[in-house]
Each structure stands twice: as C-alpha cells, then as structure tokens.
C-alpha cells in the first residue's frame, strides 16, 4: 500500500486535496502539511518523521509544491527505497495518483506515471489546440 502526504507553502496542499476529493467524490487518504512561514521548518520535519514512522512497512509518496522550495528541500532528506518525493504536484498529478487503481503496480512505475500526468497537464492551450488541428 502506498501512503501519501502533501507538503506545501501555506494551505495550497490542503486546498488541492479538497478539490481532488470534490472531483473524485471520495475522501482521500492523504495528509496535508503546511509550511510554517515563521518557523525554521523543524515543525514540518517533525510532522514528516511522525508520518513516515506511522507508515512503516508502506511505500510513501511525499508531494511538494515546488522543487527547490523548503517543503521540497526538507522532504528530500527522507528519500529512500520506500519513500519518494514528487515536486510541483498539480491537480492532474494528484488525480492520477488517486484515480483508477493507479496503486496497482510497481512503486517506481506508479510515481513515474504520476510525474508524467502532472507534466502532461500543463499546456499552452492555443498551441495544444493548434497541434490537434
């Protein structure tokens, strides 16, 4: 089983999860952690440590909002064979992760699929439509 947590600047992650829940019409098994603007990240580290400890024996995906940002940098230190970080998560990526039995398969393949779906979800629409014509 793959467990997931989303860590973002402010409440971005929580909002993203709420929108995904609305679209998929189900409660999603994901924890949202907000980066504390005033803090040094220690609270976020503690929450992540607890999350990973609580989910020992599971694979864990940590979604972050932006590569190079504090949530992403802090998450990076937790990467190992069972923990992967996907930065720059967006709605298409999150929906891909939770929709349609995407948890069936190899951990590495699943995170690659989510990464690809998130990337594919970004388009300059006029160019996209132009390509389709």
């Amino acid at each position: 089983m793959i467990k997931s947590v989303i860590i973002t600047h402010g409440q971005l992650g929580r909002e993203l999860v709420q929108v995904a829940e609305k679209i998929l019409e189900q409660k999603l098994d994901i924890e949202a952690i907000a980066f504390d603007w005033q803090g040094d990240g220690s609270s976020m580290i503690a929450q992540l440590e607890k999350f990973i400890a609580r989910n020992q024996g599971h694979k864990v995906v940590i979604f972050t909002d932006m590569f190079g940002g504090s949530p992403s940098n802090i998450s990076t230190r937790f990467i190992n064979a069972n923990v992967e970080v996907i930065s720059g998560i967006n709605l298409p990526g999150l929906l891909k992760f939770f929709c349609c039995g995407e948890h069936n398969g190899h951990f590495r393949q699943i995170v690659k699929k989510v990464e690809q779906e998130a990337k594919d979800g970004i388009n300059i629409i006029s160019e996209y439509l132009g390509e389709k014509k």
């Binding site: 679209i23 019409e25 929906l95 891909k96 349609c100």
Partner: protein
C-alpha cells in the same frame, strides 16, 4: 472489438467529475477501452485523456472496447452517459 455511438446528455459534458466517474468505471474492466471524438482517440481509463477531448453536451462520441468483458464495459459506460453521470435528475 465492439463500438457504440454515444450521445453526451449531461449539461457540463465530459468535465472533471464526469471524467473521473468514467475513468473509474473503465478501470473496473480488463478490456482496452477508448473514446473516439473527431480525430482523437483516448484511453477511457485515463482521466486526463478523457478531459483532452473537451467533449460537450450534444456531441456524439464513439465508445470502443476490446477484451474479455468488452460487452459489459460498453453497456456500463453507455449507461453512465445515459444517466447523465448522475449529475442531473
């Protein structure tokens, strides 16, 4: 392989929530399932793929399935369209 023409009846067309329901249902079947609209053919098991069709109310698409449970898949998906994705009474 079987195909069926399908009208879109719900007002919002193949928008996010409808696409989520559709892809969720398609994933319940082992058959390969596709939606064809104009020149585009997308995997019905991909939420984002369905959204790229940007198909609206009144449009007609083609459902295509190939596999052991192709008949059941087309019937179930067609029913979902006919029920307007349970969005409207």
């Amino acid at each position: 392989m079987i195909e069926k023409k399908q009208q879109i009846y719900n007002k919002l067309g193949l928008h996010a929530r409808a696409a989520a329901k559709l892809s969720h249902m398609a994933n319940m079947f082992s058959s390969d399932i596709y939606l064809i609209y104009n020149e585009d053919k997308v995997n019905a098991k991909s939420l984002l793929g369905i959204l790229t069709l940007a198909a609206s109310v009144g449009n007609e698409i083609t459902l295509q399935a190939a596999g052991e449970d192709e008949k059941d898949a087309i019937a179930a998906i067609s029913d979902l369209f006919d029920r307007k994705f349970d969005e409207e009474s």
